[in-house]
Symmetry: C4
Subunit: 281 residues, 4 copies
């Protein structure tokens, strides 16, 4: 999260603030992160509980107060973060900067639009920030492998989604003509919704074909969805295999710098130094 | 789409028409493609909206007029395309030639058969033509990889579909005998529909087993479908892996023409020229 | 299917019968197979149609007659097959011999137990025999690859099924205790049926959790099923990849007998003879 | 299950008891295991039958007696096991020691809390112990391969689960705001339950979107779930492929001890001794 060590020179207060807020290596920094983690989880649970009618009737006021307390806490934290970095505007525009604003905005919105406070659950995204204190740092490495695999598959997945939507348009229209509004296929958008529900094998059953011809078309669509389901799975499998396979080539021995170790190598083949075997912990 | 450069010699008008309609490199050609893309999307949305009862009652006439305007526009475009190519009959028989006719036919059909205009959604296929203007040209390369993988799996998928249908026949009949018309399994075709809904894990729930024996047979069918689901996924995964793995062999270095580069090579191993790394953009 | 050339020496009639019935190379043999294919398909359609109440009321007698005609035809064919082979008992005990008997038995059973004629759909298995006449011979090669992959995965799939059933027992009981008969979880076997429906992601929706705790347990089960779904898919993918990868090692060049060609080799690397590239047609 | 041969020296009775109870090589040990297998299966079936109302009314007393007989038998067996090992406390703390207690506890609990005897189905876990007598020993090897694959994927699966839960929180809240209590989305926890049901493609259909906007959001969630479904499958596939690929490196030739044999090698490449080809039986 930004090369903080260069951003905070000997400016005293800002440097200390930065260490506490942005880093988790010092006791103070770690305590701050643990407190933040607790506050985020509590505030999400509070929002969820408030949506339950029976809880709201009994503890409505307490939850309302809690919501505003958390909002004030997070707003203060946001201001401190802006003060701790050298270029506040850069931080405000970064991913976490935007998430921080989104995490306090709904409370103020709820004054004008009642109910908007449910949007506070977006605070769940703030949890990404405190992963490291749970020693989940290596998880981020894994997430990166996943993201690399997904990004490499982007073009294939787009082709795939366009194909799925085109099939949904054509098959949805066909079912609208075959079954008609009498059997729940009220219009083409609704039939497309049914086609997507069917192709993804979700199958809610709120709309189902009643005629023999409709059931035949649905069967064809299902078997098609079956085959289509295989494509994204295959894509991600291959890309994940590639992402994993590419690892040894980018991993240099910490001892001698030699590369090209085997996938299952635990020791450098040149000098015998133990390799950091992240992939299989 | 067809080697246009040889088809259009110095015949003046036809050559210009061809450049505008079939190519997207010139400003005029690009403007034409963008306009066409807009027209196709608008006409599909119009057909969809017309199927919604409340919209039809209010804007029925406007949508009816729009539908005919788009039909006339697309018919004109079709005639221009026929004029722009040297061998009109060849074009009329090609995939896009047939799609072009299908995209205007339903309007005329709807004069005789009311409701046929819903078939106009087939215009969605025309979108394939304008992919390139969105700089989605490389997507077609990806689609080709997918198609290669699917084509290579054709025989395995046929075996798989025959197996699925045979199981649907046998298990559907079994459930018809076990549950009977009293529980929704009215006849064998309907039971086969249920078997396919179950095996593909769609599970609408419009027909469900009620007896203990029926629920046991259904459980067996589900676990079977589970294993069967794995087969097409596995097939496509393997073929996709093969299709990806074969790439380096067909990719020659743009500098020296050397082949056989590693899957993850970014530079030619003979002369160091940067390789066009399409697979992982 | 069986090394017929050695079984039929110069015994005249039996040899000719064998050629017609068991082989598809001669015009007579091919005509026999095509007629048989038609008869099997017609008889299956007849059984299906008979199960549809409205059709049965109108054409019941015709379908009844057709059923017995097909039964007599298939019985005659079975007797001829027994006569055409040297060791009739061996044939009667073989897979196809048993299927042939199963294909005529239900008709006679239906005299004693009305409704048993629905079992005639087992005739669908007889179609396996006539695959070759449709030039689908190479499909059997593909089916063999699939079967090899499945057989190699047998032990892993058994472990997997035992795990799934154990989870179904434990989670089914848990839901029976949490939700109880009031919400459709009448007893443990029924709850196990629900657990299997949920884990396989079929999700009929005939039984669903109503309490908050039940919905929580169900969510855990679903996410578990998600991960479990990945196991058979992964197993079959890996085995299919192995089955495909092993091919080059077992394929000798038809010209010089050299082995160990690359997966994508189209020509022998020793002598340049074209290789039979079955895997990717 | 612990290196028993060293634990039981010449202490006579304990050694004999250990051989019978913990091993299956002697006739007495095998008979004990078979009897235990039967007792476990019978006791599980008894618990299941007791949950069926109609069976309970008729055979309630018999099942109650059977339950206590099995409990006494298993309690005795547990005491014998404790006597047979040198360090009883170590055994009591081991996995199977805990399972043994859990298998008798619910009977005593049911005296205080009626209905608790359903928990006796946990006895299904005891079956793990008697796998070997069914010559299913090699299955445990397979289970180990699966476990290795799953363990290696642990970090990736955690990332995946966190991602799924975060999406469930955000999308569930969105649907709660869009559809509201009027359409079954009563509160955020219930909406999250719906989001998980939808993302895992289970799709019970007990709660379904009714508004156009809700159906659109649901469609997006389904297609997202589609892509997400691919991730765990891909992960497990890759890890399974690795787990299989690593095998030859750990398998030494029983003849000369050479390692590094090819995946499909059936004979040692150094001395020609037949290799134990567990992976593909």
């Amino acid at each position: 999260m930004s090369s903080s060590s260069e951003q905070s020179p000997g400016e005293g207060f800002r440097a200390r603030l930065h260490t506490i807020i942005f880093e988790a290596d010092t006791p103070a920094g770690k305590a701050f992160d643990v407190a933040l983690l607790g506050a985020i989880l509590c505030s999400i649970v509070a929002v969820m509980l408030e949506s339950v009618a029976s809880v709201r009737q009994q503890y409505g006021l307490a939850l309302y107060v809690a919501e505003w307390v958390f909002t004030v806490v997070f707003a203060t934290e946001y201001v401190l973060r802006l003060m701790a970095v050298r270029r506040p505007l850069d931080y405000a525009r970064s991913f976490f900067g935007v998430v921080d604003v989104l995490a306090i905005l709904p409370s103020f919105l709820s004054i004008v639009f009642p109910g908007a406070q449910s949007l506070l659950v977006v605070r769940v995204l703030r949890l990404l920030r405190v992963f490291r204190i749970l020693k989940l740092g290596h998880l981020l490495g894994q997430a990166e492998v996943l993201m690399t695999a997904l990004r490499a598959s982007r073009a294939k997945i787009t082709v795939f989604l366009v194909a799925v939507l085109s099939i949904a348009v054509v098959m949805g229209t066909l079912m609208y003509l075959v079954e008609g509004p009498a059997h729940g296929f009220d219009n083409i958008p609704r039939s497309m919704y049914w086609a997507i529900v069917t192709m993804t094998t979700v199958g809610f059953g709120d709309i189902t074909p009643k005629t023999v011809l409709g059931q035949f078309v649905a069967s064809v669509l299902m078997l098609m969805g079956y085959g289509i389901l295989a494509v994204p799975t295959g894509i991600v499998s291959v890309e994940l295999a590639n992402a994993t396979r590419l690892r040894p080539d980018t991993q240099a021995c910490p001892g001698c710098g030699a590369q090209g170790h085997d996938l299952d190598a635990r020791f450098c083949k040149s000098c015998g130094t133990g390799l950091d075997w992240k992939g299989h912990p």
